[in-house]
Symmetry: D2
């Protein structure tokens, strides 16, 4: 009998502590302060909190890799989209933990930290390779980083780590892959329907109506009226720059957008028609990217406050002024700003161009057999 | 020129405090302790926390009403399903606030509470009409309530309140409407595909394989082996009772299930094939119902602990022993237990009967025009 | 020159990943499903979440040990009380993480879990030695555990683990040590002041006043009046049982109290006079014990709901019905119920016996030198 | 018989909905969109969330007023300090709610908001008088506000509101009162003990030791060594500027500090010797001020992200670009930065000057009667 004939294969019995490799896991907390003969009470907390961060980072890296793997194929099945949304939702829940862990580390007071911080030189949280991996996989590019952050790559990482990150930077990021996926969206030139021309008309109608409202409003001072009319002109320019490929590309060159024009328009379409059943999953997907970005921004800002509280203006163990460094990355290291900007270009539902019937039907679900509509 | 010709209609200018009716809102906090000449510092917190609860209850009632209104029609459009999911998600976020507010109320110590609690007799949080409305709209029935809870309806509510709640109880609840919607699901008898016969076979195969694994496992003591084999027999009975309408209905009569047999099977199908795109929204919907139930259960249990901490074994201002009352409702006032029970009947994906191609295609999305699959 | 003369001792430089032993830490996640050739996506989450739990349990064990070490000495300095409060506060913040991690694990659906759960037999979370340590250190006794829970000690732990826990059970728990510390409180028989006689009088006055209020209240139905008067008699019995040592000890024998009578009275005194500066730290300490108990209760109840959602009525991998097991321990495994019961015996501040001036002064802070009062 | 002879005074019976004035409370939600005939589903959420904010603001204003009232007296009793700490802790718990409510409002999507936002012109959340009150009571001064923020005071508030806020600005803020209280601290010139001279020596010793460590460290590159030595010189300057009154006052004039020199030193002393029992309450107090500041900073930053997500680069209903406005106030409107800066000046416990025995004893608790030390 060959092994493959053995049916069923009996799983070996496994116990809890063996499964979780607790012997090894719980042996990885070695206090530096104990090494120097003066164990500091709070060093264990410091280690464990950072280890918990690294465990969660491993999970996030894994989920992002799984998402990237699917997007790397030319087609993303809707079935896979459901999975992707599940994994990204998981990342947002983990981010809640990352945030909450700051509350735990803050039970260590600045004075308690002084009991061992001098022993940790030059270790620094900015050396977390996994966190850099997450940033790169999302789409943070070397050139957008602050000088201090870029410096870290050269001076503080081992050569092996550097090449690992360089290789990762050479691969398409989630932003790149999302852009490619958006460009593949088939909705934008459906049949004879020229959506963007209709959208332009709707925008012009809306702005004209706004101008009238302002002109007629007796409650406005002249100054306020002038100010509001100017705001409408600004809005008009914005809409124009979103719709005209050339102007959009100029702004993109200048760094104001990262998505391609085609990708940007598809994202806008998804946001405008998110009520259509077929837009449900794409809309959820884009919203989750935005939320992940928002959560990391929030975490960086919270982290910067914590470091300020812990060190004041002291230099961190890694040789940088932690608070400043972190404050700067808070705004710098954002990836999906284009998705935040989309709100600029939304129209009220009542002003939206209505879709041609056939497109509208195409965007709905069809149940070929026993139709639900006839139930 | 008639008024209707005025185009566009100019919205009246409105200021923040006027819009929110702050003058009235912020005038609704009157301390009983002040009325008796000894203002108690913590009474304001007590009032404001309860008012915040009532504001959020109003929002939850409104969202539930909106959901019920849609389900009350014979057909639920997928487009509407997206909305419903958004509203139910909102309820879960509000429930997070409800839970967190217990942390705020707990900054009042039992001793601080004594400064004014005697003045509140016989007011009681169990008199919250809006909370009873929420319970009834979800599907809590009068007869499942504890005697103390039922009593409250007669003895502590005004006649107008009683009739309002009676009328609400006469309407179909979200549980009823969900059951009806599940029964309308068209998937279960698709063409020649007799799903449940295949499912039964898959279950039998799985249990048989389990029996073999147990029989062959050298690591098991005889006692443990016998125990595990017995567990498999129990599982077998459970599957049988889910599949055979008659046995299911007996159990339902006995109160173990609330969904109809057809509704239960549809919910099970949705859980088994949730990876199919067309199942995405229904699966999200059922999951949200389960989470709302779970969150209220969690809140009741947390609430019971808080009352125990505040009053010990004292009688509450409403004349009931709050802790006991709340502890009992924690398990009693659950609605969607059937959805928790579904997990009992899941099979691993690898053991699932595969769907006929045409059904599988029907469950996928179709884009009639520029097919994504061909991109 | 001998090494010990080298001053200052130069700490070795240390890098982030070396300090946190990331190579080992991040190598402890081995998927059972991969071992059988079918890696299940969600198994990594399952492992990492449980590992994060174990890391935090290690921290909690460490903090509890530090607290116990201090209490094991006959005297606890106020300076140490400040530290203890810091550590217990830390435990409550960690408990927030423990709770939140349930939200993360719930991003795994019951169906995803089925992809690998059969491979984990007979591992079970109830085998967590560290969690049992925490329970024992707090004061959960073998005999109060549910039969299933007790069984686990014999059947599922290794002999080494069993002896380790037995040894721990033989040591005084935090409850025991707190009781001893309370008994040492010097305030209860200060000079000629017989506090408890005065307290008894105050209770009698308060109850008498309550009886009058009830008798005079024209809004009460006769039935309600009778009911309220009966409630006062019950309250009177309760106060009596707290004050009379013999009756208290009978109730304690019957399991209704765990603190000694002397310890209980001291805890009550601290709660009654918590506004006195010297009571500030003791009151904070008792409140934190209560909150830790409350948080674990809350976590067990939340955990039970999660298991019900994941498994329905299926048997857990460890061979027990997880939901039932957990539901039972929710109420069973509580330690500081006496502190919750204290609220039963509080009096409004206005009814509190006033303290003799010298005792009151003794309970205040004294600054011997440049007195603040004279500022 | 006169009314005052009636003993006991019977409290009138009161019911839940009457106590909370639910009829009025729940009548304050009027949808503007309904007024124009097109009720927008999400407007109720918008109103209720903002009303919940205002309820909580009222509570925060009340707690701050209570704190200020106590501090306004020349002496703060330790007994009162305990109360103050309770109230400030409450504020931090409420701030958790404020933060969480952003998650609720974000269940409204940008498109949903467009259904009614045009009707709310020119209402703006920046018109919240209660929030301005909170800012002023904490210590935000008109001149530190951004130009846009200052503008709001003139252009968007009624005259009555403006005078109300002006009057509040004329009163001492919590920062002012805390400074005065710190200056009254009696510890700094205790007897012959000249603390700050000893502190200076300790700082010099510590920096000298640091210099040696750097000089001897073989692992440092020359560049890194130079960089670290320069960092020590910077640290030295910082310590000097904190200790020398004249230099400190220059920096204060330049806006780098807000506390007086004497107040700053007292706060530093409290942080350095927070382990002394008598420092426990003052240390908790200062930490809470810092946390309240941190929480509002965090909330502003989170709020700015939410507005960016909702409006993109659109102009807010109040006529300002919400995101930019909020981003700027995030760093601008901070009050207790000096407390964050304190960490710069901490020394490790091992380097702290030891206190003279009599001072140390004075900082401990004394129990005049039955001393605990002798137990």
């Amino acid at each position: 009998m060959t092994p493959s004939q053995k049916t069923p294969r009996v799983p070996r019995p496994i116990q809890y502590s063996e499964y979780l490799q607790l012997d090894q896991l719980l042996a990885t907390q070695t206090l530096e302060s104990a090494r120097y003969g003066k164990p500091a009470h709070d060093e264990l907390l410091f280690i464990i909190t950072h280890q918990a961060y690294e465990l969660w980072f491993k999970q996030i890296v894994f989920e992002l890799e799984s998402v990237v793997d699917i997007f790397d194929n030319s087609t993303v099945e809707d079935r896979e989209m459901g999975q992707i949304i599940g994994w990204l939702t998981r990342i947002t829940k983990i981010q809640t933990i990352l945030l909450q862990q700051i509350d735990v580390i803050e039970t260590m007071t600045p004075l308690d930290f002084l009991d061992f911080r001098d022993l940790l030189v030059p270790a620094s949280g900015f050396q977390s390779i996994q966190f850099k991996q997450i940033e790169i996989m999302l789409g943070i590019r070397r050139e957008q980083r602050t000088p201090a952050d870029r410096d870290f790559f050269h001076s503080r990482l081992s050569e092996a780590e550097q090449s690992q990150l360089l290789a990762l930077e050479a691969r398409p990021s989630l932003l790149d892959l999302t852009d490619a996926w958006l460009q593949r969206m088939p909705f934008l030139n459906f049949g004879q329907f020229e959506f963007w021309r209709e959208y332009e008309t709707a925008v012009e109608l809306m702005l004209e109506s706004d101008r009238n409202i302002i002109a007629l409003n007796p409650a406005l001072s002249e100054e306020h009226r002038a100010w509001q009319l100017a705001a409408i002109e600004t809005a008009k320019q914005r809409f124009a720059s979103a719709l005209e490929e050339e102007r959009y590309n100029e702004l993109r060159q200048a760094g104001e957008f990262r998505l391609t024009h085609q990708g940007f328009l598809a994202a806008l379409f998804i946001n405008l028609y998110r009520d259509e059943p077929m837009m449900y999953l794409p809309y959820r997907y884009l919203t989750l990217l935005l939320e992940i970005d928002q959560n990391f921004t929030n975490w960086r800002s919270r982290h910067a406050l914590m470091v300020q509280r812990m060190l004041g203006r002291k230099i961190g163990t890694g040789g940088s002024s932690g608070h400043e460094y972190l404050s700067q990355t808070t705004e710098k290291n954002r990836v999906f700003l284009d998705l935040f900007a989309l709100s600029t270009f939304l129209l009220p539902r009542s002003a939206l161009p209505s879709l041609p019937v056939e497109l509208s039907r195409a965007l709905g679900f069809h149940f070929a057999g026993n139709s639900r509509a006839t139930e």
